[in-house]
Assembly symmetry: C2
């Protein structure tokens, strides 16, 4: 069995260290720990739906997303996680794709599998991985589409991309933005480009649903664009019934759950501040600014895989070794922001290992 390049896997890592998977606190994947109210009820309702095929056009699902993001449902393409949409998109865009690194490896993998020419550009590591518009301008003739994740994974900082969007529109390119982590941001509406989608065909927004709503095993995501050519190409390649009935049915409730959304946002604003502050008090560590539910850290005198091993061995904690992100190195790790109790355990263990 080939290992895909997705960092650690709890079961796999547990088996190496002879631990039970359920004893491990998983800081390697970025999931909201809060649970939707009445989830059991909704899931059992979905079970009834499950007895027949999902609607092949996912009309209700698209309408539910439409109300949530206030975009015409014809511009919404639902997927089996954002992953399905990423792969379909790579079949549907022009040949040359620039990717701003470091970022989620699946963009590059899917592009290469679909024979796109990948141009790897870099975010400015010295300035919190901010976008340098000059770099994009200099390279504007080398690509047809530009892929950026905002807030970016692995560093979590949100950026204002309106100048970038102007540049892209002026040059008639396509801007692809993965806004999967946008709901975690304090002033989301200032940063999300979804509001420009209906006016400009030059935007494609990508969203995973189940990280913010705390159910990655449900598999739900979507793409948003008014680019008719891309929509039509995607549907040419799209496989039927990729989204399961539980996800389809749950879309009626989760996007309407204003309380869940509000409380999650409030929790992360508070917990982010606590955790960044606590991590900054630990020796031999650089903490990168973040607006989302994970934090990128640079170790000064230890390599990522050593700290990862130590945390697992002594603390039953799994972190993400971030050294395999393009543009990063052996000194980078990424940790999720989890429940306050879990976070305290991580801080204590890291303090024990790194000092102070």
């Amino acid at each position: 069995m080939k290992e895909l390049g997705h960092g650690a896997n709890v079961n796999h890592m547990a088996s190496i260290y002879n631990k039970k998977p359920e004893d491990i606190i998983d800081f390697s994947s970025n999931i909201n720990p809060k649970v939707i109210k009445n989830l059991d009820k909704y899931i059992l309702e979905g079970l009834k739906e499950c007895r027949s095929y999902p609607d092949i056009n996912y009309t209700n699902l698209r309408n539910n997303i439409s109300r949530y993001i206030d975009i015409d449902s014809k511009f919404i393409i639902p997927g089996n996680g954002a992953t399905e949409i990423i792969y379909l998109l790579m079949k549907s865009i022009n040949k040359r794709l620039a990717i701003l690194n470091p970022t989620f490896s699946e963009y590059g993998r899917s592009a290469k599998l679909n024979n796109l020419e990948v141009v790897n550009l870099e975010l400015n590591k010295e300035d919190n991985f901010s976008l340098d518009l000059e770099t994009v301008k200099e390279n504007i003739d080398t690509f047809d589409s530009l892929f950026i994740c905002n807030p970016n994974n692995p560093n979590g900082k949100v950026q204002d991309l309106t100048d970038l969007l102007d540049l892209i529109i002026k040059n008639n390119k396509l801007l692809i933005v993965d806004e999967t982590f946008m709901e975690f941001v304090e002033n989301e509406e200032d940063y999300s480009l979804i509001k420009y989608v209906e006016k400009h065909e030059n935007i494609f927004i990508l969203k995973a649903v189940t990280k913010f709503f705390g159910m990655p095993g449900l598999r739900l995501g979507y793409g948003v664009t008014s680019n008719k050519e891309i929509i039509s190409k995607i549907y040419e390649y799209k496989e039927p019934w990729t989204i399961n009935s539980f996800a389809d049915n749950l879309s009626k409730y989760i996007f309407e759950d204003k309380e869940y959304i509000y409380e999650s946002k409030e929790y992360y604003i508070k917990e982010r501040a606590y955790m960044v502050n606590a991590l900054e008090s630990i020796d031999n560590l650089t903490v990168y600014e973040t607006d989302t539910n994970f934090i990128l850290l640079k170790l000064h005198n230890k390599s990522a895989h050593v700290l990862k091993d130590e945390l697992l061995k002594y603390g039953n904690i799994l972190i993400r070794d971030a050294s395999n992100f393009i543009g990063l190195d052996e000194s980078f790790i990424r940790v999720a922001i989890k429940s306050h109790e879990d976070n305290k355990v991580l801080i204590d263990e890291m303090r024990k290992i790194l000092g102070k």
Copy 2:
């Protein structure tokens, strides 16, 4: 929104006739109506799993399938429905694919989307859509792989494919068999080619799980082959986490539920006999032999779309207009075998419309 070519959709058809979807008896899709015992409990257990990412290697899932079909788990490739496996397979086989028609349209669609050369061969309509080995022999140099569905959709008759397998092995081709409906067959073990998979690299078996287990909205299927080259190609293209946690978790239980499997088989043996017998007593109708949970019918003096409209309008019954299968025409319909009560309703309505 582009309509995919998958026959009717209950919601869509209901809206045309101003009916409620829940009032319609759906004979157009082939789902076992029997429900797994304790399903609610298993699903709520799956909900807990859903809070984290599924195991990217789906080790437990593959082991559960492995025990069920008695094949080494390394030869099992799980998918988001059989559909995912069909599409991956088309990326992983050699250029020329022969398909035995009439059959499920997704084989041809996926082949063409992946730029395969499709050679359409025909089953013998005059002899219950049986395979004519001579046709395959004559065409043996025109293809690299041969795709057959057994029992075949839309006619439902199972066939002994051992002579075909010998021919394929002798000529070093690949035989792809969709055995999705094999569990409905009375003497399954006499017909399934799964037992030859470990010995011969020339076989690829495809299986949907959720038709027999009555949960198409769950999305689970798999491929089985010992062909190392194909396995490795498939994993090169496979997207991560395509199978949701409910399906992953449920695999612990459904394959072990011998009572469900036994009772479903017994039910279909009896109900098939009843329904074929009843349909044969209706005028102006040819009933094709079937070993599975659906029946192909040929109308003598009415076209498929007219009968479909009439059954929906007067009987709230949705059937499958089978005229768009390659090799069939306007006179063919397909009906599922459902609960005994539903089946009686269909028989009565068809008798009213067609006579006697």
